[in-house]
Amino acid sequence: MNKNEVRNISQLLGRYGLTAPVSAEMQRRMADDYAPLYRRIVKKAPGAALFGSVIAALFFLVKKMAVPVPLVKAAAAVVLSASVGAGVYLAMSPGLHAPVPAPGAIIRPFASSSLDEKTAVELSRGLARSLDRRFGPGYSSLATGPGIAGAGLAVFGTAEAMGNGMIVIVKVIDPETSRLLCILEERFTSADERDRAFERMAARFPSPAKK
């Protein structure tokens, strides 16, 4: 008990033998056994099936941390209302919509006459990963069907086996004007070299803003 907590009534009750103080150690033990005892009761009670075992676990976890449950509920309510409120506000304010992400690059799977399709697609993905690392996650995507609608940049490439390595040639085109923006070429003989080659390509890649 805190030394500053004066319990006058408690002292009065004590004088008349009407108190039964529980020691601090026992109070701690009670707090520790709070949830386990509940589980034992519900397990032993016929008909009970621990339906809300997850909820019960959370409930007693919160209790164990001595955080008042209404406080947790209030915090959850504040977070929920803030999210809903922000959503409604944004929806009703024409100039305040979330910024639309700039269109990125759409990469057509590389064509190849010497490599199998799977390897060519994997190489296209390698370039996409390097572009995402440079310009941000989701910047590039691999075209899964025909067309390049909505893309900021269109990327066409070929990949061929060459000696004990490979060569990748990439053309970057502005879909709006059909203008060829650049042609990039890299050669490599190992996986490490391949990754570095794609990083170099990404570094020389024109961003849609600059095109």
């Binding site: 319990r7 006058n8 009534i9 005892l37 009970a48 019960a56 008042p68």
Partner: protein
């Protein structure tokens, strides 16, 4: 669904009454493990009859007294009655002093009277802090209140009880006010 609802309501009751029931049992039995075993039995019975129980706290304490009687009857050769449970430790000390005994009855009536408290939660708070000596923080853990809320509420209950005691002629109560 009904079982799930029953379990949810039972969990709330358990959360509220666990500390007072277990404290009561510890104070009578003296051993934490035995008290927990009895507490478990009491709450299992409480769960099984949950839908039919109106006065939950009274039911729990009646069941607790009954289980304590069984406990002592199993342990000792001499039998005791449920009515003796409340006088296990204290009554003898004051038996020879009439004035003390009378005052004690008055005080007990006041702190046992639900009308002395605004609601059941306030009564539980009073029992935990004043009777069982829980810290404000520990009491708050079970009552879903912060330490400061407990202290504030306890202070107001304390004043009210002191005023009631004074009204009934308990001399020391004047000092509390």
């Amino acid at each position: 669904m009904l079982e799930a609802r029953k379990e949810r309501e039972f969990r709330k009751s358990y959360a509220l009454y666990y500390p007072v029931v277990l404290s009561f049992l510890v104070s009578k039995v003296g051993d934490m493990e035995d008290a927990e075993d009895i507490c478990q039995e009491v709450f299992i019975r409480f769960y099984n009859h949950y839908a039919d129980i109106r006065e939950k706290k009274n039911w729990l304490f009646t069941a607790a007294r009954f289980e304590i009687t069984n406990y002592f009857n199993k342990k000792a050769t001499a039998r005791i009655d449920t009515a003796d449970i409340d006088s296990l430790d204290n009554d003898q000390r004051f038996a020879s002093e009439d004035r003390y005994r009378e005052d004690r009855i008055i005080i007990r009536d006041i702190i046992d009277d639900p009308a002395s408290f605004r609601d059941e939660k306030e009564k539980l708070l009073f029992d935990l802090v004043a009777v069982y000596g829980f810290s404000y923080k520990e009491a708050g853990r079970y009552l879903d209140m912060t330490r400061w809320q407990v202290e504030y509420k306890y202070r107001s209950v304390e004043k009210r009880i002191a005023a009631l005691l004074k009204e009934k002629g308990i001399k020391e109560a004047s000092d509390l006010l």
